[in-house]
Amino acid sequence: AESTPNTNEESLPIEIKADSLISQDQKGQSIYSGRVIITQGTTVIHGDKVTIFHPNRKVIKAIVIGQPATFKRFLPEEQNWVDGRADTITYHAENRTVLLEGNAFVNQEGKNSISGPEILYNLNDKTLSAKGNKVEKKRITVIFEPEESNTTQKQSESQP
């Protein structure tokens, strides 16, 4: 069904396209390989290999591996997009979190972007938390885009 951004996305059908699939119902595991695209409403995830864990036919976790794996999603409350990429993206259905590991980068359109070895994106409260890596001396970078201040806004309006 055509989804408008403000419907509850997670109740919409999930569509997965790939080059091949190996599924083991008894283990509750399906592995999609080759140009994998997962779509649910406005959420789109790309990867080379996706492993879905679905014991008793209920999806509990999905691991997306790519070069990089990418995702993007429309946030209806803020009316903007969030997108991200990483070597591995893991979605946990139970606590509704997305863990990006390896060259992780998340960008909230017109607000801020964050990069680092590991980023956790919480779908419940839309918060981002990032972790550096002492061993590899990898740090976190956060870039805030200044919102247009009122004065600059008035100036641009008053000009002919």
Binding site: P13, E15, K17, L21, S23, R57, K58
Partner: protein, 194 residues
Amino acid sequence: MSKKLSVILLFVAALVVLTIAFKQSINRDASSVQSKPLSLTHSWQIFESTSWQIPKLTPNTKQTIIYSDEVFYQNKTKQSRFKNPYIIQDKETSAFTIKSLQGQSVNDQIVHFNGDVVIHMVEKQSPSENKTLKSEQISYNTLSETLTSKVYTEIIEPGLMISGIGFKANMTSGKYRFLSDVKTVYQPQKTEDK
């Protein structure tokens, strides 16, 4: 003059007779070819048949029942041709049926199903996991219990549809594989909503 006319008439009559005779011989050849199947002369045939394949060593664990409207069997090549074959594989925790319009078996082991192939897979303990598989061609190895298809195949179960081109499955382990052009549509269960 009348002599000439009679000769001409005679000649025309002969032509007509020849034409009719030639036409009849063609029809006879055509019909005789149709009654004898091109590919296979059979050793025996049976209609409305039901046959059981019961492994000697494990008679209770697995029985393959084959029902068919027509079976033409060739002893020498151990091949048979089925019309509307219907296989039932009944086991302790699961069962499945395979049916199609046509079928052939090879060496009494591999059965090729062709035309509107439908497989129903039943999980006796959890009916919600019942599946239906559809394809236009699938081969079933009754000994190794494996399914293979080279064409478009789809699996439908409650809330889930998977399709692809090229399919392999092991009916014992439950592991299956789609070889290309995979598409899955999954409807999250209501309990998963927030």
